[in-house]
């Protein structure tokens, strides 16, 4: 619904008028998950590795800060200027500082080689799931379009000249039979316990595809099609956010993410790929 309202707006309204559009609030749709001043709910199979690294880093940072802090406060209290006491001209031989620096360096090396690089490598290596759900994510000011290949598993040809923001936001070539069963939606529906293989691109400016509960973020760069994958494990309704300033209504560039059981997902896709209904508000 939200997506459709925005698309309708995009199709007819000039940019200035768009800016006045009312903010799409969360009315009506309940978002699942726990949110607060720490990391949000994680509903992915692999996100815990990133969370683990973030936690570890913060323990390390707090330990260092407290360590430094204690010495700092000790010095301020102990060595404040008092009558009859002179500063010590001789340099202290501060071996401990050298050790501290070496420990910091080693710890950083461990964080990088032991955690960050392996996690990043696994994020960048396609999941071995032989049959992932394929989705093309097409960003535009200020909406997300999700293009599914339909039953045949093949995407129809697309080209910018076929783009019509209201009726054909993905620019699927109407003369290509492969595209007949394609589905383009303003909502992202995915089955749980199956990898989702997304290709991220943009029609206009740089956006960033961000699913906080999935620990996934990838810039959508026009002219590039960048793969990103993840593996949802828990059903529910969540949010897709835009993380890169993309214009006036950047803040409202939000889409709903429905993580469903495989049968619910298939039913949705079935309904969507019925002829003459390849695109509607989801």
């Amino acid at each position: 619904m939200i997506g459709a309202a925005l698309w309708a707006g995009t199709a007819v309204a000039p940019r200035a008028a768009l800016a006045q559009a009312a903010a799409p609030k969360m009315e009506g749709v309940k978002i699942d998950g726990e949110y607060g001043p720490f990391l949000p709910t994680d509903v992915s199979r692999d996100g815990h590795r990133i969370d683990g690294l973030i936690d570890l880093l913060h323990y390390f940072m707090i330990a260092l800060f407290v360590g430094w802090g204690i010495f700092f406060v000790y010095c301020l209290a102990k060595f404040r200027q008092r009558p009859g006491r002179k500063a010590d001209y001789e340099m202290v031989k501060a071996k401990p500082s050298k050790y501290a620096e070496i420990v910091v360096a080693i710890f950083e090396a461990v964080l990088l080689l032991g955690f960050s690089i392996p996690i990043w490598a696994s994020v960048k290596t396609p999941d071995p799931d032989p049959n992932p759900v394929k989705v093309r994510v097409i960003a535009e000011q200020f909406a997300w379009n999700f293009h599914y290949p339909g039953k045949d598993g093949k995407f129809g040809k697309t080209a910018p000249k076929f783009i019509n923001t209201a009726t054909n936001p993905a620019g699927v070539d109407p003369s290509d039979p492969v595209g007949n069963d394609d589905v383009v939606s303003g909502e992202l529906h995915l089955p749980v316990n199956k990898s989702a293989m997304c290709e991220i691109t943009s029609k206009d400016v740089i956006h960033s595809f961000f699913i906080p509960v999935m620990r996934v973020k990838q810039d959508a760069v026009p002219g590039m099609r960048i793969p990103v994958w993840f593996h949802p494990v828990k059903t529910g309704t969540y949010e897709v956010a835009c993380a890169q300033l993309c214009g006036n209504n950047h803040y409202s560039m939000r889409a709903l993410l429905f993580l469903q059981t495989e049968s619910d997902y298939n039913a949705w896709l079935e309904k969507k790929s019925a002829p003459a209904e390849t695109f509607d508000e989801g």
Partner: protein, 583 residues
């Protein structure tokens, strides 16, 4: 000044200041580094407060989205509610003003210009007219930037980073922004050449490189960063200008469709090219923002612990290393653009490596406190507060510098918290330390200590109220640059923190009033200070206070290192660099 100024002839030229200069040449179009330094500092302070004020306006919309602004509602017709395009303009201009018109000109143009020639015992900068020109280029750049608010469509609103294609298809304000940047970059380039030459050529006799105060070293490295990093940004800006005005497509790929309308760009360009050029400057720029701040803090700490800096040489080597490394970390701002494992591993590794010299500098300054005799005057309070605040800023860079943890935190409030801890309670506290420390040198008057302490404690508290919540917002997943974060469930959940930040910002604004009052009142009210009120060792205090045109009555000769405090066997606890025997 009648065309005659010859810094290299410092041995004979003692008639400085004896010329009758017109008011205009003496105070407006002056070539004296001290006048130019003051011009820079005052202009930059005004910009700093202005840039901060823009943020105080934005904080209203963030705290109370869609509510009309109290008192100042007239700024946002018709209903007093800030619109998203205005929010984005204020955001872009806040960043631009704070960095390019506030902090850098204050640190380099202000402190660098005023203090550096004095600290090296020079009568002026190497190229006084170039110096004047760099100030006026900065001034014009600032005026151009501000004028963009009055352009139809408003000021630039694509962020201070101005990423293409958004910036290329943006309104006219962006063109003005780019032109403004060209002036500011020119100013910085002229300044950096002047600083390098001055430090290399005009040091007093006996002032070897390792007798230089750390502040001069920091300025030296900074000047190289400016000189080498700004040209790519200038190129980036000019290319963007051409994409906007001349129909080129350096940053524009083919097949762009904006609001359903296919664009006429021929294509073949790449939006990421702009980011690479931009961050190639903007990462060294981060060290431009912090190194001179560290320099100021080092001076104040050495002076107020009454002992030599611990690890002076290690600090110098670290800052040189920092300078080199800062040129090969830029792409850590771009992990999320789709970077592969190898490239991201390289930039993550360089980013981890660059943290080491920062740790060394910070550690050296903390160890310098050990067995000192610490005076808690206002400059020292600010310098001391710099240390833990900068530490928070530095440490929170770790999760952002590692690509894996950056996935979740990239472009969230965590980033805003991180770099503001570096630049706001970090660099800006260093700036305050410098202002309280050198104000007597510049004016001959001392700032009021009581007002200064009020200013310090309130600033320290509210800086943290503003920026600490941002780490939690970031962890919660709130993206930066959102006009209204309550659109998202995770944003709504931490809206209280946003409000806390906003109130902190407004109170921080109020906390600057004692400073402004002090700054102006002390000029007229307070008594004349001693020639060397802090009993400091470095050469700027060897010149009369305030220094006349040409600076030194007799060209100073340097006999020792910069921080000879509490030398054993001496009556006084400081031994100035230029004295042969204890005075």
């Amino acid at each position: 000044m009648s065309g005659h100024h010859n810094p290299s002839g410092r041995h004979h030229d003692h008639d400085h200041g004896h010329h009758q200069l017109s008011f205009l040449r003496k105070y407006v179009f002056s070539v004296d580094h001290k006048v130019i330094g003051v011009q820079y500092a005052v202009t930059a302070l005004v910009f700093l407060f202005f840039g901060f004020s823009l943020m105080m306006l934005m904080r209203w919309q963030l705290a109370y989205p869609g509510k009309s602004l109290p008192l100042l509602g007239g700024l946002f017709p018709p209903d007093g509610v800030m619109k998203p395009e205005m929010y984005n303009s204020l955001g872009a201009m806040h960043g631009t003003i704070m960095i390019f018109l506030g902090v850098v000109p204050l640190l380099v143009g202000g402190f660098g210009n005023y203090v550096l020639p004095l600290q090296i015992g020079a009568p002026d900068m190497s190229f006084p007219k170039l110096n004047m020109m760099s100030y006026w280029a900065y001034f014009v750049g600032g005026v151009v930037m501000l004028s963009s608010f009055f352009v139809p469509g408003g000021a630039a609103n694509s962020g201070w980073t101005s990423y293409a294609p958004l910036s290329v298809i943006a309104g006219k304000g962006q063109t003005v922004w780019l032109l403004g940047m060209v002036f500011l970059i020119t100013s910085s380039l002229l300044g950096s050449v002047n600083f390098i030459t001055t430090i290399v050529q005009l040091r007093a006799k006996g002032l070897t490189m390792f007798r230089l105060p750390f502040f001069v070293w920091a300025q030296f490295v900074t000047a190289f960063l400016l000189l080498l990093a700004f040209p790519p940004l200038e190129a980036a800006a000019v290319l963007q200008l051409m994409d906007r005005l001349a129909g080129t497509s350096f940053y524009m790929p083919e097949g762009l469709v904006v609001s359903g309308v296919p664009q006429a760009y021929t294509g073949g360009g790449n939006p990421l090219l702009y980011q690479h050029l931009f961050w190639f400057l903007a990462h060294p720029e981060v060290y431009v923002l912090i190194l001179p701040g560290m320099g100021i803090v080092a001076e104040v700490i050495a002076n107020n612990t009454r002992k030599p800096l611990w690890g002076y040489r290690a600090m110098v080597y670290s800052s040189i290393f920092l300078g080199f490394m800062s040129f090969i970390v830029w792409a850590h701002h771009m992990f999320i653009t789709g970077m592969g494992t190898k490239i991201s591993a390289f930039f993550a590794a360089t980013t981890m490596i660059i943290s080491i010299p920062s740790v060394i500098i910070l550690t050296a300054m903390i160890i310098s406190l050990y067995r000192g005799s610490i005076r808690f005057n206002v400059p020292m309070l600010f310098a001391l507060a710099f240390l833990p605040m900068f530490a928070i800023g530095g440490l929170t860079g770790l999760p952002l510098g590692l690509p894996a943890s950056d996935i979740q935190l990239h472009d969230t409030y965590y980033v805003i918290g991180h770099f503001h801890y570096v630049v706001a309670p970090g660099t800006i506290f260093a700036i305050f330390a410098g202002i309280y420390f050198w104000y007597p040198k510049v004016t001959g008057k001392r700032l009021n200590e009581a007002l200064g302490k009020i200013h310090f404690w309130l600033s320290l508290i509210f800086m943290n109220v503003v920026f600490m919540p941002m780490f939690f917002q970031g962890l919660a997943g709130v993206s930066r640059r959102l006009y209204d974060q309550t659109v998202y469930a995770h944003g709504e959940a931490v809206q209280t923190l946003t409000r806390m930040s906003s109130w902190g910002a407004w109170m921080l604004g109020v906390a600057q009033l004692p400073f402004i009052l002090n700054f102006v009142m002390s000029l007229v009210a307070s008594r004349k200070t001693a020639e060397n009120p802090w009993q400091a060792t470095t050469l700027e205090w060897a010149a009369p206070t305030p220094p006349p045109h040409g600076n030194f009555l007799v060209p100073p000769v340097v006999h020792r290192g910069p921080y000879e405090y509490s030398v054993p066997g001496m009556k006084r606890d400081f031994f100035p660099q230029h004295l042969v025997v204890e005075g």
